[in-house]
C-alpha cells in the first residue's frame, strides 16, 4: 500500500494546532508504514512546495503573501484539510474584519507599522480556495486530527460531527453547568468534537469549536441575559475565537446593537 504523503502548513496562527498534532506524534510515527510527513516544519521536515495527498493547514489568510501561498498550496494538495479556528473561521484575529479599517489596528499595536504587510481582513482558508475538510477547535482536538489522518489514509472521510457540545456533554455524564450553576455555557450553539472538555471540568464552554449545525443565537442570547450578562458580555461570548463564523457574527452583532 502506498504511503499517504502528508504536509502541515502554517498561516496566521499561534501554532497551537500544530502542537496538538505534535502531542500525538509518537502515535503518528507508529503509522510510518502508512503515513509519510513531507513537510511539517515543527517536526523538522521542510519541503513546503512538494505535492502531497493531504495538506493540513493551520492559520488564517491575513497577509498578501498568504493569499499567494494558499493558492499554490491548493494546486499541490489532493486533499486540503483546515485545522483549527483560524484556518476554518478566520480566528480571533478576524475581529479586525468588524472594524471600519482593519489595518488601523496595526498602527495601534506595532511601533513600526510600515514593516508589517497586512490585509485589512483575516479570513478562513475557504474564502480563497476550496477546502475538503474543516476541523474546528482552538486548538483542534489531537485525537480528532489523529483519527482523521487514519481515515484519510484509508481513503474515507473522517467523522466530523456538527451536533452540539451538549450532546457530547450528556454522553460524558457531566452535570450541566448552565442549569445547575448558572454558568454562561455556549455548548448549545457550539459544535461537538472536543468531547465537552470544558464542562467536564465544571467550566462553561466558550465556543472554541464554532457554530453547531443549528444555531439559535437569539434564544441563547435571551438565556444569557436572564443569567445576568449584559449585552456587551453576551456579544463577547459570540464574538470571540470564532467571531467570523456567520451565525456567531450575526448573534454577536445583534447583541451588541441591542445595548
Amino acid at each position: 500500500m502506498a504511503r499517504l504523503r502528508v504536509s502541515v502548513h502554517k498561516f496566521s496562527s499561534c501554532d497551537g494546532c500544530q502542537l496538538a498534532l505534535l502531542n500525538r506524534v509518537e502515535e503518528v510515527m507508529r503509522l510510518a508504514d502508512r503515513v509519510a510527513f513531507v513537510h511539517f516544519a515543527e517536526l523538522g521536515y521542510v519541503n513546503p512546495d512538494a505535492p502531497v495527498d493531504v495538506a493540513f493547514v493551520e492559520g488564517s489568510v491575513s497577509t498578501p503573501e498568504e493569499v499567494m501561498r494558499i493558492r499554490e498550496l491548493r494546486k499541490n494538495a489532493r486533499t486540503l484539510v483546515t485545522i483549527g479556528a483560524c484556518a476554518t473561521a478566520g480566528g480571533i484575529q478576524a475581529l479586525r474584519n468588524l472594524q471600519a479599517d482593519g489595518r488601523a489596528w496595526v498602527a495601534a499595536l506595532y511601533p513600526s507599522p510600515e514593516h508589517v504587510s497586512l490585509l485589512g481582513t483575516s479570513h478562513a482558508i475557504s474564502r480563497y480556495v476550496a477546502v475538503d475538510l474543516e476541523l474546528w477547535g482552538c486548538p483542534v482536538d489531537s485525537r480528532q486530527v489523529f483519527s482523521a489522518i487514519q481515515a484519510l489514509a484509508l481513503g474515507v472521510m473522517p467523522i466530523n460531527p456538527r451536533d452540539s457540545v451538549c450532546m457530547a456533554c450528556k454522553r460524558e455524564g457531566n452535570v450541566c453547568v448552565l442549569v445547575a450553576h448558572g454558568a454562561p455555557c455556549m455548548g448549545p450553539v457550539t459544535r461537538s468534537g472536543c468531547g465537552a472538555l470544558c464542562p467536564r471540568f465544571g467550566r462553561a464552554c466558550y465556543a472554541c469549536y464554532g457554530p453547531s449545525e443549528q444555531v439559535n443565537g437569539l434564544a441563547l442570547t435571551q438565556r444569557l441575559a436572564s443569567l445576568g450578562l449584559d449585552p456587551d458580555a453576551i456579544a463577547r461570548r459570540f464574538l470571540s475565537i470564532n467571531n467570523a463564523a456567520g451565525p456567531f457574527t450575526e448573534a454577536g452583532l445583534r447583541a451588541r446593537a441591542s445595548q
Partner: protein, 374 residues
C-alpha cells in the same frame, strides 16, 4: 428479572442504619451497588460502598432550566426528586463498542466486543424510571434480536425502588400514570419515614434479601404513614399533560403556529432527549485505528435534534428546529402509542429541568393540543 408477587408480602420496618445491611447482603451476592450521590452539584447514580455516601438531608430545587441542591441537615436519605439521569447510562451505554474488525492478510476478521455484565444493584430508583426501564426493555429486548449488551446488564439488575415522598415542581408522573409509588419491576421497594423505611419485597430474591436482615413487621401505623406520604407527594404535583393519549390531537395539529413559536426558543441542543429515560435513539459509527489495520464499530446516544437523525440518502427531511421539536413531541407523546402501546413520557420532568432554556413539555403539549395548562 424482578416480578410482581401474586400476594403482596408483608411490610417490614428497616431503620435508616439498617440500610447498610442490605447493601452488604447485595455485595455478598456479587452485586455492584449503585446509589444516589452528590457529584458536581447534582444527584447522580454512582457506585456506592455505604449509605453514608447518599445525599442525607439534601433537598433539590428544580424549575424550568434550573437545578440546585441545599442541605436541610436532617436524616432523610431520599427527600429529593430525581437528578439529571435515571438508570439509562447504566443499561443503555452513552457510547459502546459493538464489534471490532481487523485485517488478516486480505481477509477481514470480525469480533464482537466484550460485554461487561457484572451484576448491578441499584438503590433509590423511582417509579417513573422503573416505567421508563420497562419501555426500554421492550425496545432493546422485545424484538427477534434482543440487544446482547443491554440484555446482559438488564438481566442481572437488582432493583431497590424508593417510593417518592417528595416530588419536585417539574415532576408530573401522576398525570402519566407512572408514580409516585412503584408498582412493578422492583425487588425491594422502600418508603421513607423520619427514622427509616417501610420495606416490601417485589420478588423472591427481594424477599430473601429482606428476610436475611431480621426485620420486624412495620405495623399498621407506619404503613399508613408511608401510604400518606406517597399520596401527598402525588397531590403536590402541579404539572400535568393534557391527556394520556395525545396522538390524535398532535397529528391533527401538525401545522399549529405553536411549533414555530417553540422553535424560536429551542436551541436544538438535544439535552431533553439525552436526559429522557425512555429515549433510545443512537447512531452507529466506524473509527479506524492502527493506520487502517483495524476499526471499531460503536454506537452512541443520538437525538432527533441532530442532523443525522433525519438524513436519508441525499435529503435532510427535518432541516429546521421547528420540524425537529415537532418530531420529538409527536413521537414521544404520539407515535409511541403505536410502537409501545403507551406514551413515551413517564412524567419524570427531566427534559423541563435540564433544558438550558427551560422549555416545558407540558406547556407545549397543552398549547398544541388546545388545552389550557392547569
Amino acid at each position: 428479572m424482578s416480578r410482581q408477587p401474586d400476594v403482596p408480602s408483608s411490610m417490614v420496618f428497616l431503620p435508616h442504619e439498617g440500610l447498610s445491611g442490605l447493601l452488604d447482603h447485595l455485595r455478598s451476592e456479587g452485586y455492584r451497588c449503585l446509589g444516589p450521590v452528590v457529584r458536581d452539584g447534582a444527584i447522580q447514580m454512582e457506585p456506592v460502598a455505604h449509605p453514608d455516601a447518599f445525599p442525607i438531608g439534601f433537598r433539590d430545587r428544580q424549575e424550568k432550566g434550573t437545578y440546585a441542591l441545599e442541605d436541610a441537615g436532617d436524616a432523610r436519605m431520599f427527600a429529593f426528586a430525581n437528578g439529571p439521569q435515571g438508570l439509562k447510562p447504566w443499561l443503555f451505554s452513552p457510547r459502546e463498542t459493538l464489534w471490532h474488525v481487523a485485517r488478516r492478510g486480505t481477509a477481514l476478521a470480525f469480533e464482537p466486543a466484550e460485554i461487561d455484565a457484572a451484576p448491578l444493584a441499584v438503590i433509590g430508583i423511582r417509579s417513573c424510571d422503573l416505567a421508563a426501564i420497562a419501555i426500554q426493555d421492550r425496545h432493546f429486548l422485545g424484538g427477534a434480536r434482543p440487544d446482547p449488551a443491554y440484555a446482559a446488564r438488564r438481566g442481572g439488575l437488582f432493583v431497590v425502588a424508593v417510593n417518592c415522598t417528595h416530588a419536585g415542581p417539574t415532576c408530573f408522573c401522576v398525570s402519566t400514570g407512572d408514580g409516585p409509588a412503584a408498582r412493578a419491576g422492583f425487588d425491594v421497594a422502600l418508603t421513607e419515614l423520619e427514622d427509616g423505611f417501610v420495606a416490601a419485597a417485589g420478588s423472591e430474591r427481594g424477599e430473601r434479601a429482606l428476610a436475611g436482615l431480621g426485620l420486624a413487621p412495620a405495623g399498621g401505623a407506619r404503613e399508613a404513614a408511608a401510604h400518606e406520604r406517597v399520596a401527598a407527594a402525588g397531590s403536590a404535583q402541579t404539572r400535568s399533560l393534557p391527556g394520556r393519549d395525545l396522538q390524535a390531537a398532535l397529528l391533527a395539529n401538525l401545522l399549529h403556529p405553536r411549533w414555530e413559536a417553540v422553535a424560536g426558543r429551542c436551541l436544538s441542543c438535544g439535552n431533553c432527549t439525552l436526559v429522557c429515560p425512555t429515549c433510545f435513539c443512537h447512531c452507529e459509527r466506524e473509527e479506524v485505528s492502527s493506520g487502517g489495520a483495524s476499526a471499531e464499530h460503536y454506537r452512541e446516544w443520538d437525538s432527533c435534534f441532530s442532523e443525522g437523525h433525519a438524513f436519508i440518502h441525499g435529503l435532510q427531511v427535518r432541516p429546521d428546529i421547528r420540524s425537529r421539536y415537532r418530531q420529538w413531541l409527536t413521537h414521544k407523546l404520539g407515535g409511541w402509542h403505536d410502537q409501545f402501546g403507551r406514551s413515551g413520557c413517564v412524567g419524570c420532568g427531566r427534559c423541563i429541568t435540564w433544558c438550558p432554556v427551560g422549555i416545558d413539555i407540558t406547556e407545549e403539549a397543552a398549547a398544541v393540543c388546545g388545552a389550557a395548562t392547569p
